[in-house]
């Protein structure tokens, strides 16, 4: 296409490639993990409550163990607050819903922009705070890998560019919109091959762990 602008690329070929890679990568990871579930457990069979044990693990692992709560309270609360703020910004902003509707064919009610702006700002601030904590905290720094840092930056970029585009800061609107879309596309490409996959894997893996422990008679 001749004379393609940055926005044209971001709304067209860039978006298409990012979505293809995202779909391919996510299914690759999920199907691969599901096939591995069939590994035979050689331990003695002790309980027969697979579903209950699985669901229980999903719940118990959603809150930290009491013994650790004091030490990770900030991380615990800010982690939940960050996810809620992110979901509100992503899922209830009218232009975002129009995008999802164009793919899935259905929509849902949106929230006023003021709330979206607030939740976006909260999500951005919390993620920056969590990134700083990860760098400063000796234990967190020790267990962090390059994947963690890249994933945080890759998620932070759409938030920052989205807020900038919304508030008309940093450049002309179409430029900021293009940068926002490109940031989202970068995240989509990085997503399946990184820890961002936890969005798909968290609960299935907790469930699987619960059933696995249940099989061996472990109450966890």
């Amino acid at each position: 296409m001749e004379n393609m602008t940055l926005l044209d690329f971001a709304r067209g070929p860039g978006l298409q490639w990012a979505l293809w890679i995202f779909c391919l990568g996510v299914l690759w990871r999920i199907v691969g993990a599901m096939y591995l579930l069939g590994t035979k457990d050689l331990s003695k069979f002790r309980r027969n409550h697979y579903i209950r044990d699985g669901l229980r693990a999903c719940l118990t692992r959603s809150t930290p163990a009491e013994a650790f709560e004091d030490k990770i309270r900030f991380q615990h609360i800010s982690g939940y607050a960050w996810h809620i703020a992110l979901f509100v910004s992503v899922l209830f902003f009218a232009p975002h819903i129009l995008f999802f509707e164009s793919i899935f064919g259905f929509s849902w009610p949106h929230l006023p922009n003021t709330i979206i702006l607030f939740s976006g700002a909260v999500a951005t601030a919390l993620l920056i705070a969590l990134l700083i904590r990860r760098v400063v905290h000796p234990v967190q720094r020790l267990i962090s890998t390059i994947d963690d840092y890249i994933s945080i930056v890759v998620v932070l970029l759409p938030l920052i560019t989205g807020l900038a585009a919304f508030a008309h800061i940093g450049g002309r609107y179409e430029t900021m919109l293009a940068l926002h879309l490109l940031a989202v596309e970068l995240m989509l490409i990085w997503y399946p091959f990184s820890k961002l996959m936890h969005a798909f894997m968290t609960f299935p893996s907790r469930y699987q762990s619960g059933t696995f422990f249940g099989h061996r008679g472990v109450k966890a």
């Binding site: 979505l19 293809w20 232009p95 129009l98 164009s102």
Partner: protein, 353 residues
């Protein structure tokens, strides 16, 4: 207007009062983002201006730009100023036809060498020059010939400025903009489909006042008129902020004048004076009439997705392509898992052995 008359004398002879003229000068100075102190300078310069020669070439176009200018709201001071230029060639408006008309163009070019303004509306086909000719002369040749001796070029309308509708994919005639061909002359792009009449006369007033071309943006448009984003200046903007959108063209939201973003309004990516200067003597503009902006002053606006698709939707391809990518991913996942199991079995067998 006689050749020896200046603009001030001509306007007085047409019954335009000093007050009316100053009102126009104030509005023009304001549009050009000049300070109030410049109004007197604008008035003085305009009143003393001699009629400049203008050669207007119409190529691959629909005449909408000319219609916009001549039928918008006359008679006004703007239209009288337009009358006050020496429009020496315009094949839609001129009385002369055939060889006489072409001779007038050649004569105007010869008499006003280096001083005349060349106005172009319409794009130029370059795939085959025969696609559009005037008096047997291809648009390409006529443009090159007429541009050779001009002072500056005003590309009126999105077709002349960026290729416009004729240049839309698949661009069957190989239509290009004036700036794709002429690179050694100042070019002012007055884009729009059509452009706002007062923007055309405003550019002309700037030329008459200062004898220079106005400040231009990255797309060659006068920043005085194209520096503002439609969305930023839209009176429906508060509804966007509150998340109040019209869902269809006849629902309650539409009747209440809510934001047209969901109906495909391209205001956020469009730069033009529609929301400030407006059309039909400042009566309204498309968004005020209930239709979203189609970004007609932007390059390739025909190829930026559907006019009624919301800006945030994007061209994400097809569901089939996404499902295909997902199927390939699933196959890769299954393949890699089977391979991993085989490796594990082999390792166990080796250990047992």
């Amino acid at each position: 207007m006689r050749k020896d008359q200046n603009l001030g004398e001509y306007l007085r002879s047409q019954g335009v009062s000093r007050r009316g003229f100053l009102k126009f000068c104030s509005a023009t100075a304001s549009l050009m983002a000049l300070p109030p102190s410049a109004v007197a300078q604008v008035a003085e310069a305009l009143a003393a201006a001699r009629r400049p020669s203008v050669i207007w070439l119409s190529f691959q176009e629909c005449t909408g730009c000319t219609e916009s200018l001549t039928r918008s709201h006359s008679p006004t001071v703007e239209s009288l100023i337009f009358d006050a230029i020496s429009l020496d060639y315009h094949h839609t408006l001129q009385a002369a036809a055939g060889h006489g008309a072409e001779a007038a163009r050649e004569a105007a070019q010869e008499e006003n060498k280096g001083e005349y303004i060349l106005v172009v509306d319409g794009s130029i086909p370059v795939d085959n020059p025969a696609y559009s000719t005037i008096a047997g002369i291809s648009n390409l040749d006529m443009l090159k010939h007429s541009a050779k001796d001009c002072f500056a070029i005003v590309a009126v309308g999105t077709c002349a400025a960026y290729g416009g509708l004729p240049g839309a994919e698949p661009n069957p005639t190989g239509a290009v903009a004036v700036s794709d061909i002429i690179t050694d002359k100042p070019i002012i792009n007055v884009s729009g489909c059509p452009p706002i009449p007062v923007v055309i006369t405003g550019v002309l007033a700037h030329f008459l006042t200062f004898g220079t071309i106005p400040e231009l943006d990255a797309l060659g448009r006068p920043t005085a008129f194209f520096g503002q984003n439609i969305h930023d200046r839209c009176y429906r903007r508060p509804f966007y902020e509150r998340g109040e959108f019209a869902e269809t063209f006849d629902d309650e939201g539409a009747r209440k004048g809510w934001c047209l973003y969901k109906l495909g309004c391209k205001g956020p990516i469009t730069y033009n004076a529609c929301a400030t200067v407006k059309w039909n003597q400042g009566m309204g503009f498309p968004i005020q009439a209930g239709h979203g902006c189609i970004a007609c002053s932007e390059p390739r606006f025909w190829d930026k997705g559907g006019f009624y698709d919301a800006l945030s939707t994007g061209d994400w391809g097809s569901r089939e392509a996404l499902l295909g990518a997902a199927a390939v991913g699933a196959a890769l996942g299954a393949g890699s898992a089977i391979r991993a199991r085989a490796r594990k079995r082999k390792a166990m067998a080796e250990e047992e052995a």
